[in-house]
């Protein structure tokens, strides 16, 4: 019947069982992919070193405190902190009464912001994103003096003080390294800013360390 209009060739046989070599290849591939995925999440969820900020606002730093005041320590080149800044922006956009917010850029030269912008796009990106958030003041902290006063250890650390200068919260705003989305830290800080009592007043911070551990803990 098919000698005239044989427009559809016969299908190749596809039902043959897998060879042992294919089974091994698929097995090895599955194990390698599974291990890789596990490694991602293990890496992403290792928090930075826990900070111990002063229980009262350190007046010596010279920053003006006004009502509830937040300080976020940032490494200008930390890619993970893009998510922290995003969450900060989201948080500030969701509350009625905005606090005073300082974004401390540790290691960025005081008069070098423009030069840095020209030289390193990613650097300027974090600086500009943070300073573009309404109510956030970006401050260069080239030698880490101000950050040290707040005991900031990790890029993305947020330290919150109340109207009377008392420590309200410290920790990160993301659930994993460089990962946007809801997190315990975000919920706790939101509760603090709304005047509620959070279950805990600290959370782990996920980001690049502000301290080089290979230099024996010497701060910037």
């Amino acid at each position: 019947m098919t000698d005239i209009l044989d427009v559809e060739p016969s299908p190749p046989r596809t039902g043959r069982p897998l060879s042992i070599v294919h089974k091994i290849i698929v097995g090895v591939w599955a194990v390698a992919v599974f291990a890789g995925m596990l490694w991602i999440w293990d890496y992403k969820t290792i928090p930075g070193r826990a900070s111990s900020p002063p229980v009262a606002w350190p007046e010596s730093v010279g920053l003006k405190r006004s009502g509830v005041t937040l300080v976020m320590t940032l490494h200008p080149l930390c890619p993970c902190s893009q998510a922290s800044v995003s969450e900060l922006a989201r948080l500030l956009g969701s509350i009625q009464q905005r606090p005073t917010v300082y974004a401390l850029f540790v290691g960025l030269e005081a008069n070098d912001a423009e030069a840095t912008k020209a030289a390193r796009v990613e650097d300027a990106s974090l600086w500009q994103r943070a300073s573009a958030i309404p109510g956030v003041t970006a401050i260069p902290d080239p030698d880490g003096t101000i950050s040290r006063a707040f005991a900031g250890e990790t890029s993305g650390d947020v330290i919150a003080y109340g109207a009377n200068g008392e420590l309200l919260y410290h920790g990160g705003l993301t659930a994993a390294r460089g990962h946007e989305g809801d997190s315990f830290g975000l919920q706790r800080l939101r509760a603090v800013l709304r005047g509620d009592t959070p279950d805990l007043r600290s959370s782990p911070t996920f980001g690049c360390p502000l301290v080089d551990p290979r230099k024996d803990g010497v701060k910037l």
Binding site: M1, P11, L18, W29
Partner: protein, 227 residues
């Protein structure tokens, strides 16, 4: 035409119809496999470029270190794409090929979400991938993909719950809430797959009938007698 001859013709037409259907189905699967083969390579290149541009370095104080994203994109992305690409170009149309591709495609979503810092926008890759997997017109492939998403969420919900739900002690069924939207999307895609297969079968039957009519016409034609 006698009853026996009619019956024989019907059997032949049915057999030819099935043959045409299997052939077309195989072609659809093989074409989708090759498309996914190129997509796997494209996603790998995109992931490397993303890591190089978005987060090439991590920092420990003033010490610059290579971000794990770069080797992750190169090595894990390469491993993830390797088997699907091999199967897509060396064994197109096989059942194993499309199911391995479905697994890899959903894991590519997870990897890209990771490389873009969990951006909500990147989560749309999951739904785009499901729609692309529907090109196979094989609803079982969508089930495999959904199973991968649900398993990934389930395991993360157990071991790293905060990274996915924002809280550390979610209810055990929370992964179902996330999987629900994938299943919602699946429901329509599966329906489209089943309709697509039915249409292919109808076309195969029509084609077999047309072949039979053409064959009959040819057999009775003066041209054949002359030849």
């Amino acid at each position: 035409m006698t009853t026996d001859a009619t019956y024989d013709a019907a059997v032949l037409i049915a057999a030819r119809s099935e043959e045409r259907f299997q052939s077309r189905t195989h072609r659809v699967h093989a074409e989708a496999d090759r498309l996914f083969g190129w997509l796997m390579l494209g996603q790998w290149a995109f992931a490397i470029a993303l890591a190089m541009v978005y987060s090439p370095y991590g920092w420990e104080g003033k010490t610059r270190v290579l971000s794990p994203h770069v080797p992750l994109a190169v090595v894990l992305g390469g491993i993830l794409s390797s088997l699907p690409v091999y199967l897509a170009f060396c064994h197109p149309g096989k059942t194993l090929t499309r199911h391995v591709i479905a697994v890899a495609q959903m894991l590519w979503s997870a990897l890209l979400i990771h490389l873009t810092g969990g951006r909500i926008e990147t989560h749309f890759h999951v739904f785009g991938s499901l729609a692309f997997l529907a090109f196979y017109r094989d609803w079982r492939v969508l089930l495999t993909a959904t199973l991968v998403v649900a398993t990934e969420h389930f395991l993360r919900g157990i071991f790293w719950p905060e990274s996915i739900y924002g809280i550390v002690n979610p209810e055990w069924w929370r992964f179902l809430e996330h999987a629900f939207w994938v299943i919602f999307c699946d429901a329509f895609l599966i329906l489209a797959c089943i309709r697509g297969v039915n249409e292919m079968r109808e076309l195969a039957e029509q084609g077999a009938h047309m072949e039979a009519l053409a064959q009959a016409a040819w057999s009775n034609s003066p041209a054949k007698a002359a030849s």
